[in-house]
């Protein structure tokens, strides 16, 4: 008896351009509906990949993807099966197949895709293993600890100064997109955006409506600098917007400047002031490059964890070769035991019958324990089918195959 086949059909940023990926990308509901229409399947669709995992053949899954793409995907999609498909899913869940190695969002997306449908035993098993290994990679390695973008690096650096950012006040200067992202990132860690300053107060007000804070004109910057902990600047001004002379004589806590603008908004002399720390865009990009190098080093450890999990999946699938033979053997033995007990049932008392029941059950279990263990071991080493056939032949189980 051959176990059910695990199939994967998909495309990702590795093999498909964004024009094609956006045609096959589905929102969560549409992905779940597609998976259900294919029977026992799970559809994982993100901005970087659309993949269909199916129990059984992959032809219908391929047809579905081609229908979405409105073109033949021959030579573009990857089609993987069994152990290779499982290994791919484990790498995806661990973030090892992502654009930024170790990014954590994909694990939630894998979980959502799995929970959106009601998968059969094979898909249930492989997805549960994928979620477990994804979680283990994040807890046992440092692959996800370092920021992978300028905005998250800015927030991580602020945390290196202040620790917890709860209650820290942020001043956002300018209406640049990356500056706003950095400020939002700080806010997601608990900081509050206290002021938004811009050359035109109207623009400051618009940004403040999105991110919070009090809108200010630039000439009120010196006052605001005395009331905040973190300053994020991203104006398009050709000259410095924040000068060393604007910074009030230092208070009892540090002042952290994140200057994302080019040309720079903050006068470099600010970095020399006591208690002031200044990172410009080059500094932030250098920090990100360094942390990405660290992620790649951790990826090697993560790959080992994924490989171990793939091995466990392989062993589990191999054990499926012998499970029917083991079940038949146990059923046959149990039938013989029950029949023999029935023959003496009328000649023994109730107590004696209970004793016989117990003793014969124990003998049976002890006799079958070792053959069961050995068959499972043999299955892992690829001899499972041979052992299963031998057991069926020796015990006359052929008709129960």
């Amino acid at each position: 008896m051959t176990p059910e086949r695990l199939s994967l059909v998909g495309l990702s940023h590795h093999v498909a351009p964004v024009e094609l990926r956006e045609r096959v990308a589905l929102d969560a509901d549409a992905a779940a509906a597609l998976a259900r229409s294919l029977g026992d399947a799970v559809c994982l669709s993100t901005c970087n990949r659309t993949e269909i995992y199916a129990a059984g053949d992959d032809e219908r899954a391929l047809e579905a993807l081609e229908a979405l793409a409105a073109e033949s995907l021959d030579g573009t999609v990857y089609r993987l099966h069994d152990d290779a498909a499982a290994l791919h899913l484990f790498r995806v869940a661990a973030g090892l197949d992502s654009l930024v190695p170790g990014e954590g969002e994909i694990l939630g997306q894998v979980r959502a895709a799995y929970e959106a449908v009601d998968p059969g035993p094979l898909l249930d098993r492989v997805f549960r293993q994928a979620l477990a290994v994804g979680k283990r990679v994040r807890t046992d390695t440092a692959i996800g600890e370092s920021p992978a973008s300028v905005s998250s690096a800015a927030a991580a650096l602020a945390a290196q100064v202040f620790g917890e950012l709860d209650g820290r006040r942020v001043l956002l200067v300018g209406a640049g997109r990356i500056g706003e992202l950095a400020a939002t990132n700080l806010a997601s860690r608990g900081a509050g955006i206290a002021f938004v300053a811009n050359r035109t107060v109207e623009t400051a007000r618009e940004v403040a409506q999105r991110v919070g804070g009090e809108p200010l004109p630039l000439d009120e910057l010196p006052r605001a600098l005395g009331e905040v902990d973190v300053v994020v600047t991203s104006t398009s001004a050709p000259e410095h917007v924040v000068r060393a002379a604007d910074v009030p004589a230092r208070r009892r806590s540090p002042l952290f400047f994140i200057d994302i603008a080019v040309p720079r908004d903050v006068e470099p002399e600010v970095a020399r002031l006591d208690g002031c720390f200044l990172y410009d865009i080059d500094d932030l990009e250098a920090v990100v490059a360094e942390t990405l190098a660290g992620r790649r080093a951790e990826a090697a450890r993560a790959e080992q964890l994924v490989a171990d999990e793939a091995q466990r999946f392989r062993e589990w699938r191999a054990s499926l070769d012998v499970v029917p033979a083991i079940a038949s053997l146990r059923a046959r033995a149990e039938a013989i035991r029950t029949a023999e007990l029935a023959k003496v049932d009328a000649r023994v008392s109730e107590d004696e019958r209970r004793t016989l029941e117990s003793v014969t059950a124990q003998i049976l279990n002890k006799l079958l324990h070792l053959p069961t263990v050995r068959m499972k071991e043999a299955a892992v080493s690829a001899d499972g089918a041979m052992y299963a056939d031998a057991v069926r032949h020796l015990f006359g189980l052929e008709d129960e195959r």
Binding site: P147, L157, Q160, V161, F162, R252, Y279, A286, V287, E290
Partner: protein, 255 residues
């Protein structure tokens, strides 16, 4: 071989293991066990010393060094023995292991000391002063870490998020709290010594003078509440006096 001598080795082994394990991020979780096991073994060692002695057994310079190491590691266990503070462990544990060896070489880890002073006085005076010194040692390690982290932030070190130190403000807060707790201990310990000195007469020796100077430095710290780099420098300045008091002058104080 006495029980006290036997207990010395697991304690040293624990501290040594911790000192080595803190050097690597991967082995640092094992370091915590080294600190705990070593400290428990040293606690047992001190217990045996106390049981076998007629009175307070750590009045001599080597014995007091033994007690000092126990207090330093104990303070570290309470304040800073956590993964984020790995580098603090790397600063404290090799020092603790080295001083522990010095204490043994000086005969401070054996049993059977016969002090010439009363127990209550020695517990109050030596115990409190050493506890304060242990705390100041920890505060100095925190101050050193602060200066290093501050320098890396100022210089925009690219590996700042790879080799992570505790946040600047956490280091400063912990350093200040440690000094706040330890200064009253030093004050009480000194008062006990001064009362004794007045009862018996005599003049202030070099160790007492240095300890008083230490008290003045940390007293100024608590009153003026310096922040940032200045606070770290004051903590390190006070610790320099602790080193002088502890290592250079402790020998003849109870002679």
């Amino acid at each position: 071989v006495s029980v006290a001598e036997v207990l010395f080795w697991p304690a040293l082994l624990g501290y040594g293991e911790a000192a080595l394990a803190y050097a690597s991020l991967r082995t640092s979780p094992l370091a915590t066990w080294g600190v705990r096991i070593g400290w428990l073994a040293q606690t047992a060692l001190l217990g045996v010393q106390a049981a076998r002695s007629d009175g307070f057994p750590w009045a001599g310079w080597a014995g007091s060094l033994n007690l000092f190491v126990w207090l330093v590691v104990g303070a570290y266990l309470i304040w800073g023995c956590r993964p984020r503070f790995r580098l603090l462990g790397l600063a404290v544990m090799p020092l603790a292991a080295a001083l522990f060896v010095v204490a043994r070489v000086g005969g401070g880890t054996g049993a059977g000391a016969h002090p010439r002073y009363g127990n209550l006085f020695l517990v109050l005076h030596v115990g409190l002063v050493l506890a304060a010194f242990a705390g100041f040692t920890l505060a100095a390690a925190l101050a050193a870490l602060y200066l290093w982290q501050e320098r890396r932030l100022k210089r925009r070190a690219t590996d700042i998020l790879r080799l992570r130190l505790p946040p600047l403000q956490s280091l400063e807060r912990l350093q200040r709290r440690t000094i706040d707790v330890c200064l009253p201990l030093l004050t009480l310990g000194l008062l006990a010594g001064i009362v004794r000195l007045r009862e018996r007469g005599g003049s202030i020796d070099a160790l007492e003078a240095v300890t008083l100077a230490t008290w003045l430095v940390y007293g100024a710290f608590v009153i003026t509440r310096p922040v940032g780099r200045r606070a770290a420098y004051v903590a390190l300045g006070g610790f320099a006096l602790v080193i002088v008091a502890r290592l250079a002058l402790a020998g003849g104080h109870f002679a």
